[in-house]
Symmetry: C2
Subunit: 195 residues, 2 copies
DNA sequence: GTCTATAATTCGATAGAC
DNA sequence: GTCTATCGAATTATAGAC
């Protein structure tokens, strides 16, 4: 039955994605995923060829989610200013997870960079998706050829806020600094309008 | 001979610190450290009681280095503006390492947060050292009770820049964003002088 | 203090019956 | 597709001779 197999595969990916987020890729074993996805441990290789294969499926799954989210924002919000603020809002919406496990994208990418450089290149696609989308927003704001730099800057500050909120497990840091980032966006917008 | 044993212990700590930085804590095995420190694998437990014990010694060693560095800057630079810029300069001075392995403090803290929350509290002392020192500098600048927030903000932005330079293995990101951070410091200083 | 040998687990991965 | 059983390698950690 194809449907059943496909659903089980999705279950495994979602369980693995959550565990990789909470425990890290290396610390997530087949035993862990099997328990979470209600799967027999020996039955893994029917769905995936290797542990790296699961990782790639998880990243692919996350990437699809990111792209769908960004596409949705294009429809939901009319101005780049609103869209950029919605981007910053990600942090507040995942506040509890961020302070406990960090940014799912940043912490995974950091771990993979240490010993699995090939896999890191795959996970970088998640950053690329945000970066490209942010660049479009800044271009619409009219910052011209600085759009790429602004996109990277906002991405970096978001990563930094996530990292420090995680380091101190403190939602107050997250809230204060996201407000500051919102103000920064207003400043950029105001700077363009006056120009 | 006490001297010899103490020197060997320092060798182990320095080898472990480097390997933990480059490969991550979990991926760094006793075999790796033994090779690097020219030590017999079975002889580890003469110097350390467990792998966590080595980790704590590494963090202690790094922390001492950080505190000595910050104390040195207090003497070397006369104004808080110069000191803050020297802090940002850290990134450029370690450019090659940062783009390849990320921030040694940030990536370790991120890894420990996933599964070893107790050890994370120890590694947080490194952040505390920078945070406290930065707070003093901002206080000297005259930002008043906002000093703590400014300290955290600068720490966060530095982490973010490190994370993105690492993610894209791109020194250009590092250089551009550190220049931007220097300008931000100038802005804060100017804001205080005019007030 | 230094060495060899090995215990005790855990891991990813495989084989094969049903 | 699902299950049990297990391999081979790697890991941290220990025991004990020298």
């Amino acid at each position: 039955m194809y449907q059943k197999g496909a659903q089980k595969r999705r279950d495994i990916i979602e369980a693995a994605s959550r565990l990789i987020y909470e425990k890290g890729y290396d610390q997530t074993s087949f035993t862990d995923i099997a328990e979470e996805a209600d799967l027999n441990r020996g039955n893994f290789y029917h769905y995936f060829q290797s542990k790296d294969d699961i990782l790639e499926a998880v990243i692919e799954h996350r990437l699809a989610g990111i792209k769908a989210m960004l596409a949705g924002w294009e429809v939901e919000f009319k101005t780049p200013q609103e869209r950029l603020k919605r981007f910053v809002q990600i942090l507040k919406n995942s506040e509890n997870d961020i302070v406990q496990f960090g940014c799912p994208m940043g912490t995974l990418h950091s771990e993979l960079g240490k010993c699995k450089k090939e896999e890191q290149e795959i996970s970088r696609q998640m950053f690329d998706a945000f970066r490209d989308w942010l660049k479009v927003q800044f271009k619409e704001l009219g910052v011209g050829r600085e759009a790429g730099a602004y996109a990277m800057r906002l991405l970096a500050y978001l990563q930094g806020i996530g990292a420090m909120s995680y380091a101190y497990a403190d939602p107050a840091i997250l809230r204060r600094e996201t407000r500051e980032l919102d103000r920064w966006i207003d400043t950029v917008v105001a700077g363009q309008k006056s120009a």
